[in-house]
Amino acid sequence: MKQQNQRLEEHLIIEKPYYLPSGSEIEIALAAHKNGLPLLLKGPTGCGKTRFMQFLAWKLKLPLITVSCHDDLSTSDLVGRYLIRSGEAVWTDGPLTLAVRYGAICYLDEIVEARKDTTVVIHPLADDRRELPIEKRGELLNAPPDFMISVSYNPGYQSVLKDLKPSTRQRFVALSFDYPSPEMEAEIVLREGNVTQDIARSLVKLAGMTRSLKESGLAEGASTRLLIQTGQLLGSGIDIHTACRAALVEPLSDDPELLGALQEMVSSIF
């Protein structure tokens, strides 16, 4: 038990994460938590979904257990399994069970990456039953009021095979995330990337330009995260053109023509 608590405490967020709300998402999330409703976050890469969850966990003073989903994720990876310790079989809780048992927040990042039969495991937790059956132990866990489950995905992917089942989807309170407004984004880049206001504004301007290139073949424009990373490179003494190239342009595409055009934008702005 003591060991479990220690495991959980590692997930507590002590320092206040920086998050700039762009709408009423915090109120909605708090209300959802109060009413025991699960949360679905959707939005493009690097727009602040995970940061929002960290902020929420900090505000609620609850541990945040994050699971990054992948297509090899099995039910036992989430729920738990027996392990052998010194010749004895010991049950070890998976991250989901841990969160349910102690009333933490369980955050399944990029849920569409997980196989559909794995995601089904959260169904009884994500409706009014709020329970988790652990078949191997013959145990039925009832979630305490503090427990919250939240999932995230990026609707921009164009693969047919990666979509959320309606039966999964229709259990959640959904929050749609997008890149913040230019002023707010500049403020975020300024703070997180530790750059001057001018640079922050120019970076945001550049990001806006790349985001309007969707119809010209760029799958996704530069995310806020990329802008912050560019700022961080700048802070370490790398010159602006190189920093933009390494942290903003190259990660976006492999197409030489698009790369050329992006590089031209960079050299125009800076």
Binding site: A89, E215, M265, S268
Partner: protein, 753 residues
Amino acid sequence: MRPATLTKRFYDLVAPDIPNEWDVEEVLDPFADKSDAICEAALGHVPVIWPVSHSLCYDFLRLLPEALHTLSLEQIPRWIGTTLDLYETKGLRAAQRFMQDDLKEYLSKLEGSGGLPLSVASKQLLPYIRGIARDDLRISVSRQCYTDTRTIFVPEEVNFSTNYDTNFLLYKLMLTFQWGFIACNSFLSSPNKTQDLQDFFNSFKSPLLASAIYQNLESIRVRVFLNQELPGLMKAAEKHIFDKLQDESQHPVPQSPLQLAIIANREDINSLLAKTLCNPDCKAYTEGLAAPHDSMRITELLYKDSEQGEDESLLNTFSFQGVFKLGQVVTAGKIKEQKMGEELSDLMATYLLSLSKKELAALMQEDQDKKSGNNLAESDVTMVMDSEFAGTAKQDIDAPLLVTINNQEIDLPQELEEFSKTFFKEFGHLPAKFISSAAGKAGHLMLEQDIESSSKTDPTPEGATNISYDEWDYRRQGYRKNWCTLHCKSLTPVHSSFIRNTLDKYHGLTIRLRHQFEMMRSQEHFVKRQREGDDIDFDALVESISDTKAGLPGSDRLFIRLQRDERDIAVLFLVDMSNSTSGWINTALKESLVLMAEAMEVLGDRYGIYGFSGMRRSRCEFFHVKHLNESYGDKVKERLTSIAPSEYTRMGPAIRHATKILQDVDAKARLIITLTDGKPEDYDDYKGQYAIEDTRHALLEAKTADIHPFCITIDQEAKEYMKHMYGPANYIFIDDVRKLPVRMPEIYRALTS
């Protein structure tokens, strides 16, 4: 080489074609006394040119002996490459002219003394300017540089410097500067105001001079704006372009201080400007506070001065400033206004129809009273739509919009209100014409129960199966029952070398595609926890032992097996065969289908290919090219070759039929991929909003049946309605039709992996 050998070799090369003997003899005769190397070189290029164009091939052979005086044998392949490029972009004439007349020019280019052609630079410039402008601007070729606010025209070639980078920079500067005029509102906000500006210029004795002065003043504004907005570009321009322009020895005509200010280093702008403008104005310009009306006012002043002093230097402009073509701006603005107006009127009509019957009756009552006894076929509804503060000096676009119909006020839904506001903001007024037509449309529909008079049914073509489909009418939010008749036919097979040529043309790509798709097929991965397998799954084993120790029955699934993933995907390709696809688009569509088919054969996904076209609801046509389970044989190939543009694009029934076909197929994922070049449109009233809504509904039906629709479009204007029709992330837009064959397999790969 002997003439007989030459002729025989030639016939072998062009087989199975059998060209006229006298043609062949005529062109091959001059080679009889040439060295073997030259003959080999000449014949070596025949297979390259012959399939593209026979007459170009004759021309090549005819001109080659002479060309060899100036070109070396090694330069010939590149020369042919350029010729063929020209043939494909501009046609036979241009290619012939190039071969015949432009040899000198070509040589100078080869030596690197030529400039930078737009065709080379535009691949990077187009996404660049679209990104900068955050708008779908287009780039087009014109002798002078100018913009009509939708397209930026630049010269075909820039020959400013011998340096590639500097020439590229000049192109960039031209585009950015023209965009600057748009962004700085130099053409004023609406087509009417642009017209006023033109009238203002015309009021001078020399409109040209007035316009040039105004443009120079505006260029200062743009320069200051760009200094702020794109400092990097302006720094580079100062260094590489402005410096050279400042060198007066290059300019026979003296430059005015105003012009010099445009190309001055940023510190000098102020002092140069002060020579022409008085102090407060000068400050307004350098600080970016001036507006177009300041420029108009100062134009008047400067015009007077220059007329007295007969100072012609104000007439000059730099190449990157280009010229102002206000007439074109007005036209482009009006086209946009027209389009948005139509959209607004459609939205309005939809909304009016969604009002409850009672409200409508009340609204219409008055109207009917007025025209009692009159036939109701044409209703006349007075509709006023205006901002609350319209007419007052200070128009506030945030004020709520009020719509009154026959003096009764109605509330607008948010979407409509926002659209109207955008319109108002852009054009300064609301489109009265379109709004009344919306009211007319709606009124018309309300009063007449049956919208369509019975249209003439064409006789059914023989050998076709006919199926009726419903069509969605968004105006009444219901289906028109059995509205469209779909004739399913097979395309007549055509024998040609199209497939072979395509495979030759994309030889490298085909090999790469095969490889890539093969990788997809053999998506091998290890599956854990199997009853039998190649290796022991230690995780499972440990778990099983633990379970046993814990008193639970241990699992016997203890092995790892290498498994090939069954893809089990069924996909239908629907090809738009409307008239608008004629020419290059059709070729590109077919080429991409050939490449797709090759790739799909490797991959093993089930796929079908169908074309659709037709005219009117009574004759929608659905052409079979390949059924899902048909093998990709000669007949299929011949049918594929015969895909050709015919009539209109009534997309709804085709999608419904494809849905029906796929519904009977059992697969893990089922897809309909539509290849189209534009909006759905038919000869009758299947247009605009109606067509989009019907197509959207057909797609929704497909989605309900668990079929995933996806669209690949090459429409330049596609952006807005595609998202509405297919939903975000369910379509892709290809800006250059030539890229389609390359992109399509990529898209398919991304879609299904």
